[in-house]
Symmetry: C2
Subunit: 622 residues, 2 copies
């Protein structure tokens, strides 16, 4: 019934969809097997993409030729560039999305990918012989063969949901769990463990009083995620989100359910995400905080369903409800569905190679939540890399690996492979030691060419990148040359409260001054307007960032070089870590216990941050 | 956590959605509880609405103020008026729909209905005391109270799916089954039994060769289902369906799987729909037929998924696939998902009153597939009536019941209540003895006022009906009067091959001639054009039908009267049914066995058709 495939992808969540698209677009014949074709690319939790560090990942996925950025742009209902007031390394695009439209657009994109076949069935096991995977076995008993297999089972492997003292099996509410795979992998020598994640209750928006909340509007300008020209909504069409807060009263109400909490009573064994905790976790761990922020987010264009971001919980439902009613604006709220926690199997990712192929079984790749991560973006980027490498492996080519200095994706995979994770892993800017380099504005400049060479990023993409590069170079050289006399620009310097010119200066010099920016200079200074007339806003912005942050960028580039040389640097055996007061206490403990032999090894110890490694370097005289 | 509701509706399929909307729009405070809010109004099987007899039902639902017609109009991708070449009693509107859009529009419509609350949970049992239902118990343990409860569980009650020799529990693929309710109802004295239905495989449209099939385009004019002005697609935007055929070869291939057929091997105990049989059933029962027609139907605007209407099957998947590949155009087909059969619990509907309230337990209503019917339209109309009556009961008013002579809905419920059903019941025009009255064009004239009086149909609807009535009356009186001289119309009569006028005649007389129709008369005859200028196409069509079919309509109206008088007519005890050769053999057997006491009772025996009753009447001298 089935041909022999190059790549089989199991599961059509965020990881599986990217994996299938990437392998197919590189030329593999791909089968995407998923339990339910109606739930392709379903957002299990909040209808939003991007955010701090995650937004950078989505742009990287897009730069590499993945679909997440395009689909997100097509289905957004609100766009915000977070952290605009900080330096460009911190800028992070984030969208609110229409949940149904997001899934629809993903499915359409996949259906329009010629090499992707679909099949609805549950994969129950793998075909493995002599340590090599050569296909899958489905619930209906089909043996389907492939050169590479990518597992992206998400939260479905032996999934169990919890609300208060109730438990029920399933991969998401009302969906079945997947069984068989964990058991087989364990019998093949894999280690598996349990993790948990949670989701907040959904509310009937008609029952909320928005006058008691703060409105959070979308940005006035929508740049979006994709570097391609995707048709997007107009800024004035955006839907607002709303902000409200818990209170001591809410916390007290929640505490009345702690004796029935599956987490506190030990019914949930899996470890939850430390950085995306449930509300009961937050109350417990940050007892001193009087309130927590809640984001009240619409689920789409035409639905009244509301997502209460920040109120993830598995407390008994009556407690969820009672507490919510004390939140300003929620006095008369009606619940559509309660929050819940879900426990599932994952495979500690130290069992993987950099390509996301498993060490134990050849031709078998893991991506997404199955590797212990949490988040759509984290899943999607792993899917993309696993899909690329599944194709490369199937066609006898060397793997594609991104370094920590090249992409957040590189940081993520390096962290997973080397440090593993004992709790659901999510990305933060602090995990990236070279974050000035890994900006959302330059993911295309960093990555598209690599992917184009491998046959994934399209001709259109690479041409856009080249145009951008050329444009930026031109702008930079124009500004380097362009002489400005006091009468050209003093009116603008005055507006900006910047020292007036007394003699001619180059535009570049003036741009370097704090508070100056290229757009207003162009708008207010005729000479600059004339010189930069033909350049797009994107190119001008990029040139500005490169000019204004040159020093930092250079410094990091040097650090990258230095680090790669230091990788093998031997740490003296008797090194006294207690001297290093600025080390984090966790790093000091671990160093003392493990006594790493090289700086490279030290940097890969779980719990050790890039900053700890830098401190070590400094103390070793580098 | 929950207020006390007027009406709780369990399940958000076609029946549940209509029930919730109807009760809410009549003024009840309604809670719609469903297992998965992502699957509201999901089309479990083919993405199409209406068709013969079913199209009439959708128009009746619309005339009564239900939502199915509106939602269907908003989500159609193709419209056809079936049977246009036959008399207007047979005209049946049918649409192909975008599956996702249909569900989205339903959900939006419900969310915009102020009195409907939603709750996602599985109902596990009913609150019953002293033979009265007063609420439900959910999987999460909530007891939610209500004055009336409507159960619309569809195929979910102890659902089991079959493909070849594989079985798995669930309400639809990858969805969980519902448990608990059947067991409780049986303990309360209800009878339950098993039925089955099936669905065909879904195919990747990119793998089909349409040049080997016949194209079936949409109509050039789209009237749609709703009597309101719903925005619809333009005729030229429609998507085509395609027709192809099985063959002796295909049948032979299918037969190779009969030894693993869950149906033929007795693993499925439930009875399947006789009139919507699986392909293996068709081959078996109509062994003489060399081929069966297959409709190849797109599932939506932008998806490549294809529904193979006519190929419903639960044979092993490899057999499905092998056989399909022999169908012209399917040589290289790829399957997205196999066909399957599903077995589920139903409650023989003789346990219901005309209001759809159960006889055993007060305030408890059943609607949809749980009553042994099959089909979206059959489910939706029961939901509407159950919702209306749940509201009426909750507010102490008498029930709303439609007669067989008033609506297909009346026929359906009368059949169910009185005859029960031992196989999935679907509607046919032949079930309606008064089908000349029950046309798709006059459902508004028949029903809207009744519903308006009860507070369901809106002011807008009733005004449209009144306008239509007035318009029709005016057109009729104009035509009755309007004198036409030979020179006015002979050119048109010549075109129509109709005898020329030699003297003046009324327009009405001429319209009565076979082959004449009001639209062409208006287009070709200036005098008529002038007289009818201000009337809409709908009004003209209605007037024409009333004029041209007056005799038949009158005859049926009289029959209705006569039948209602005969209801109590006593059949002589010794009546000899063997004399009545024209009786169907099933009716003769049943009459002989049961020996009904009155004509009314005779007509309600299962397997007895309206025509059998009429024969009986004639022999009894009426
Ligand atoms: C309740 C819940 C709450 C969450 N909360 C958050 C949050 O607050 N913040 C956050 O960032 N992330 C959250 N997440 C995580 C986020 O949803 C996931 O990280 C992300 O969706 C993982 O993507 P994935 O592709 O790995 O898996 P999924 O999106 O889970 O997709 C898995 C896919 O595989 C299919 N599948 C599984 N097993 C099989 C099989 N054997 N055969 C065939 N198909 C199979 C499934 O049907 C599904 O399509 C939450 C997830 C859940 C379930
Ligand atoms: C596989 C299959 C094939 C079919 N083939 C055809 C066909 O070829 N032609 C045709 O005309 N018809 C067909 N049908 C029938 C058609 O789908 C149904 O008749 C129609 O959908 C019934 O509508 P309903 O509202 O009664 O139930 P459904 O549409 O089944 O909806 C039931 C709803 O109730 C919910 N629910 C169930 N139990 C509970 C509970 N305890 N608590 C909360 N919620 C609950 C479910 O989640 C669902 O939303 C088929 C159905 C199936 C499943």
């Amino acid at each position: 019934m089935f041909p022999s495939y190059d790549v089989i992808v199991v599961g059509a969540g965020h990881a599986g969809c990217e994996a299938a698209a990437a392998a197919a677009n590189m030329g593999s014949r791909v089968l995407l097997v998923t339990m339910n074709m109606q739930t392709i690319a379903q957002m299990s939790c909040n209808p939003a993409m991007g955010g701090i560090a995650k937004g950078q990942i989505v742009r990287e996925i897009d730069a590499l030729g993945g679909y997440s950025g395009i689909v997100t742009d097509q289905s957004m209902i609100q766009f915000r560039m977070l952290n605009r007031s900080k330096g460009p390394a911190m800028w992070s695009p984030r969208t609110q999305n229409d949940r149904m439209l997001f899934a629809t657009k993903w499915r359409e994109a996949l259906e329009q990918t010629p090499n992707v076949d679909f099949y609805q069935d549950m994969v129950k096991g793998l075909l493995v012989k002599d340590g090599k995977c050569y296909g899958v076995i489905t619930g209906l008993g089909h043996e389907i063969k492939a050169k590479s297999v990518v597992l992206t089972n998400g939260t479905f492997l032996n999934g169990v949901m919890h609300i208060g003292d109730k438990q029920f099996g399933g991969g998401r509410v009302a969906e079945k769990a997947a069984t068989g795979i964990t058991e087989q992998l364990v019998s093949l020598g894999f280690e598996s463990d349990r993790l948990k994640t949670g989701t907040p209750p959904r509310i009937d928006g008609r029952s909320l009083d928005y006058s008691k909340m703060e409105e959070q509007k979308g940005d006035e300008e929508i740049t979006g995620f994709s570097y391609l020209d995707v048709e997007k909504i107009k800024p004035e069409q955006q839907r607002s989100c709303w902000i409200t807060y818990t209170s001591a009263e809410v916390h007290e109400a929640l505490k009345t359910g702690f004796d029935r909490s599956p987490m506190f009573q030990g019914r949930i064994q899996g470890v939850g995400p430390r950085y995306c905790p449930s509300i009961e976790d937050k109350i417990n761990r940050f007892a001193e905080r009087e309130r927590h922020q809640l984001f009240v987010e619409p689920e789409g264009w035409n639905t009244v369903e509301i997502y209460v971001n920040g109120f993830s919980t598995s407390l008994p439902e009556d407690v969820q409800y009672k507490a919510l009613q004390m939140v300003p604006g929620f006095e008369n709220c009606r619940m559509f569905r309660p929050g819940y926690a879900i426990e599932y199997d994952y495979f500690p990712p130290t069992q993987l190679q950099f390509s996301l192929e498993t060490k134990q079984v050849q031709n078998l790749f893991f991506a997404g939540q199955i590797n212990g991560t949490t988040g759509y973006e984290e899943a999607a980027c792993q899917g993309l890399i696993a899909g690329m490498n599944a194709h490369l492996k199937a066609s006898g080519q060397p793997p594609f690996v991104l370094k920590r200095s090249e992409a957040y994706i590189g940081v993520l995979i390096d962290d997973l492979i080397n440090k593993g994770t004992e709790e659901p892993y999510r990305m933060f800017t602090s995990r990236a030691e070279f974050r000035t380099l890994l900006r959302q504005d330059n993911a295309d400049l960093r990555l598209t060419e690599k992917s184009y060479r491998l046959g994934l990023a399209s001709q259109e993409r690479i041409e856009k990148v080249q145009q951008k590069q050329e444009g930026v170079a031109k702008v930079k050289s124009i500004l380097k040359e362009l002489p400005l006399d006091p009468e050209d620009i003093n009116h603008h310097l005055e507006e900006k409260n910047s020292a007036l010119l007394t003699q001619r200066q180059r535009a570049w010099q003036i741009l370097l001054r704090p508070g100056m920016d290229i757009l207003s200079m162009k708008n207010r200074v005729q000479k600059i307007a004339n010189a930069l007339e033909s350049f797009s806003a994107e190119i001008l912005e990029q040139a500005e960032i490169q000019i204004k942050y040159e020093v930092y960028i250079e410094k990091e580039n040097e650090l990258v070089k230095k680090m790669s040389q230091l990788e093998d640097l031997v740490i003296p055996e008797a090194f006294d870590y207690t001297k290093l007061v600025s080390l984090s206490s966790e790093a000091r403990q671990k160093f003392n216990k493990i006594r790493p032999r090289t700086l490279g090894q030290a940097s890969r110890i779980s719990g050790v941050n890039p900053s700890d490694v830098q401190i070590l370097m400094v103390y070793m005289g580098r």
